[in-house]
């Protein structure tokens, strides 16, 4: 954490005129693009997805105003695909604010001119978790489930019996609840009522 303090110090000391490049050359004109242009450390450049930290929750996709971030599900291959397109990006840095794991990293890069549009696209693919019971793919990625395991307190896990149910599809969860209720209550309710009740239950998670 000593690093962060020195960063603030660095921010304080940063001065456009005192930056080394300008003291050696003429004060205003520089031979850009042949040198690296001096940018203030606060500059909002294009963001970058760190694939190691990303869990594929899609918070950034919901916040992005110009649809530069897109989420796709490929349930056949069990893949959730997060695509970032710098050409659509307006550098508002909303994705960086909302990211729960800090996977969206700010940079000070602003030069995105290219002769190949594919250079501007970043794709992160996540493995979808699959149902332990029926083998179908869930809507969540494996990392999302891992993340939930880490952050949820144990009481919540116990209260909703999540340990058993977290890796099941919605239908499977509903079916199990129905069975359980039938067992405990001796099937006093008609089946359709039970299904509706469990549906609400499942939605809470």
């Amino acid at each position: 954490m000593a690093e962060s303090a020195s960063y603030t110090e660095k921010l304080k000391r940063w001065d456009r005129f005192k930056a080394e490049k300008f003291s050696k050359k003429a004060p205003v004109t520089t031979p850009y693009p042949f040198i690296d242009i001096e940018k203030p450390p606060e500059y909002r450049g294009i963001p970058h997805i760190n694939p190691e930290k990303c869990i594929g929750c899609g918070a950034c996709v919901n916040a992005c105003p110009p649809d530069a971030l897109i989420m796709e599900w490929d349930k056949e291959h069990g893949v959730k695909r997060l695509t970032y397109n710098a050409a659509r990006c307006i550098r508002c840095a909303r994705c960086i604010e909302v990211c729960p794991t800090g996977a969206m990293e700010p940079t000070t890069r602003f030069e995105v001119a290219t002769d190949n549009k594919e250079d501007l696209v970043e794709v992160v693919e996540h493995k979808l978790a699959y149902c332990e019971e029926c083998g179908e793919y869930l809507d969540f990625t494996e990392r999302q489930i891992e993340y939930v395991r880490n952050i949820l307190p144990k009481d919540v896990f116990d209260a909703y019996a999540l340990e058993d149910r977290i890796k099941l599809t919605q239908e499977e969860k509903m079916r199990r609840t129905v069975i359980k209720l039938r067992e405990t209550e001796g099937n006093v309710y008609p089946a359709f009522m039970l299904v509706r009740e469990t549906k609400d239950d499942g939605g809470e998670e």
């Binding site: 500059y43 105003p65 307006i90």
Partner: protein, 599 residues
């Protein structure tokens, strides 16, 4: 919030606000007695008023019959006591999915007394138009300020202003088919049909010569097509065709985005007054959700607004110098301006398009050590500008070209509802920062500043007004730094109330920016109307041009600091300018197939 009389019986729709319990069933009499003038208006139009309510603090709405619309607007506009009242703009809404009617709603900024903050207010005159016959009597016949407003609703929503003096197309491109109205709710925002272009230009008066200026304005480098009709060197009449950069922003905001996403779109309406739009929009949503944002956020917003004003005025004075051929002044003005851009880049993360706002506050805090830096820049700019003005105002090239040119008399300025420095140079004492300063998203009511007013009305007066304002802004920045309170910088706003309306406004460096927001379901925006100040200033330009020489025309046009992309907010497609033949789409396709691979 109050609904009076038989609003439900008339229109068979329910007040959704009542259902949510937000609509306090207040007494009409107490509302009418809140501000001066409301009761007089009620008495004068008693039979035609179907309802009245307070939308939010200082914003009152009357539901009136469409037959008396011109009389009602003129009653406010020509009010003998409230001299500086002006027609701000009008909103047309397609409310057919809600209650089966169209809505046309002009609104006025009522200035009871200059700088009397808790007394001034906004008046909205809501009229319901029939779905199968959306016609209303034109106000433009008697009040030129409504000329463009009515042409706009005619283009975008298909309303029919009866007896409009100039019912040509204003906003939509020439090759847009008749009878397709983009802002109606039954049209998808991606739909963009094209037919053969049909050009409607004003007839050339007898014995005059046509001098086309545009479609790109020299100096400002933005699209605007002026057609000057000249006799010798003198300009007799002017025709204007603009809206070449109409981008359909309002439609996009209504179609797809949630309220926090619209904010970033709002900031991108304009290249140089983006933050003003952003604050206005944020304010509209905050007022409508009835949230008071933290003091620190208000101060930070005001600080950035004033920094924006400083660099914009320097930019403009540079352009004005460039227009009169005094390029040294241009270079110096922009040199002085640059440190502000660098400062703002460090405060917010970008030179322009700050991205600082979020509905409910700001996103970055101003750290303490930055304050010294701001004060350093302010000092530097004050000295720089003083030296620059000393030189510029003693340069004959500059003074002789600007003095006595492009005079806009007070009466014309009032009739066209001209705003901002253009109005203040013609003797209109208006400024929303002072007039409507209570309960806004900014902190103007807590700091001290003067509003410079000049009576001459020429280009030089506009230069001087702006330069005086610049020094006031520097003084305001110093005060804001000094008085900046501590605390939070934002409050979260969860769910928005449904079908509520409110107005957000700021005084941009060109005049008042107005954002009207009506919410829909699921945190979306049902109607978002943006009115940039140039929208009111530009129709008055032909009046300023008449009687002056062609050589002065670029300077006079530039003197209102026009911003076309702000004004036009909307969509693609180039058109037949009358000079060059433009290929039709079919011809173009044919050619491109023929020469495929050659070019």
């Amino acid at each position: 919030m109050v609904n009076t009389k038989d609003l439900e019986a008339h229109f068979e729709f329910e007040c959704k606000a009542c259902e949510n319990g937000r609509c306090a069933k207040a007494d009409v009499n107490s509302i009418l007695s809140e501000r001066k003038g409301l009761r007089d208006f009620y008495e004068a139009f008693k039979e035609h008023i179907k309802g009245c309510k307070r939308m939010t603090y200082g914003q009152y709405q009357f539901v009136i019959d469409r037959e008396v619309l011109p009389e009602a607007v003129l009653w406010w506009h020509n009010h003998p006591e409230f001299k500086e009242t002006h027609l701000s703009t009008a909103v047309g809404t397609d409310e057919r999915p809600l209650n089966g009617h169209f809505v046309y709603m002009p609104f006025l900024n009522v200035q009871v007394e200059f700088a009397n903050e808790p007394e001034n207010y906004w008046v909205f005159l809501r009229t319901y138009l029939l779905a199968d016959d959306p016609s209303f009597p034109s106000v433009a016949e008697k009040l030129p300020a409504a000329l463009w407003i009515e042409r706009e609703v005619k283009d975008l929503l298909g309303f029919k202003p009866v007896n409009h003096p100039d019912p040509r197309r204003l906003i939509l491109p020439e090759d847009w088919p008749e009878g397709v109205y983009p802002l109606r709710k039954d049209m998808d925002y991606r739909h963009s049909p094209i037919t053969e272009p049909k050009v409607e230009f004003k007839e050339k008066p007898e014995d005059t010569t046509l001098v086309p200026m545009g479609p790109a304005h020299m100096g400002i480098e933005e699209p605007a097509h002026f057609r000057l009709f000249v006799k010798g060197e003198e300009i007799v009449d002017v025709d204007y065709r603009g809206f070449y950069s109409h981008r359909g922003i309002e439609k996009t905001g209504e179609g797809r985005l949630t309220y926090n996403q619209v904010l970033f779109l709002a900031e991108r309406i304009c290249g140089i007054c983006g933050y003003q739009h952003s604050v206005s929009y944020a304010m509209a949503v905050e007022r409508l959700a009835d949230v008071d944002i933290p003091d620190r956020a208000r101060y930070i917003r005001t600080l950035l607004l004033e920094l924006e004003r400083i660099h914009n005025h320097l930019l403009w004075v540079g352009i004005a110098a460039h227009m009169v051929g005094y390029d040294t002044g241009f270079m110096h003005a922009w040199r002085i301006r640059e440190p502000v851009m660098w400062l703002v880049e460090r405060l917010t993360g970008n030179r322009k398009q700050y991205g600082m706002n979020i509905v409910g506050g700001v996103r970055r805090d101003i750290l303490d050590y930055r304050k010294e830096e701001i004060l350093k820049v302010v000092k530097q700019i004050r000295e720089g500008t003083k030296t620059f003005l000393d030189v510029a105002l003693n340069t004959n090239t500059f003074i002789k070209r600007a003095e006595g040119v492009g005079i806009l008399p007070y009466k014309v300025a009032k009739a066209y509802s001209v705003l901002g420095p253009t109005a203040r140079a013609s003797g209109r004492k208006i400024d929303v920062r002072k007039d409507q300063a209570v309960k806004t998203a900014t902190a103007y009511n807590e700091i001290d500043f003067k509003v410079p007013v000049y009576k001459e009305g020429d280009v030089l007066a506009r230069v001087l007004v702006r330069m005086d304002e610049l020094f006031e802004s520097l003084w305001m920045v110093e005060q804001l730094i000094d008085q900046m309170p501590g605390g939070d910088i934002m409050v979260p706003i969860g769910k928005l109330p449904e079908y509520e309306e409110a107005l957000g406004f700021t005084e941009a460096h060109r005049g008042e920016v107005v954002h009207y927001v009506m919410t829909g379901e699921k945190n979306k925006v049902y109607r978002w109307k943006v009115r940039a100040p140039t929208y009111n200033n530009l129709p008055a330009v032909p009046e300023m041009l008449k009687g002056y020489h062609v050589a002065d025309a670029p300077l006079i046009i530039a003197s209102i600091d026009p911003c076309y992309s702000c004004t036009e907010r909307v969509q693609f497609v180039d058109v037949n300018t009358g000079k060059v033949k433009v290929l039709t789409e079919a011809e173009f396709n044919e050619l491109s197939i023929k020469y495929k691979g050659v070019f």
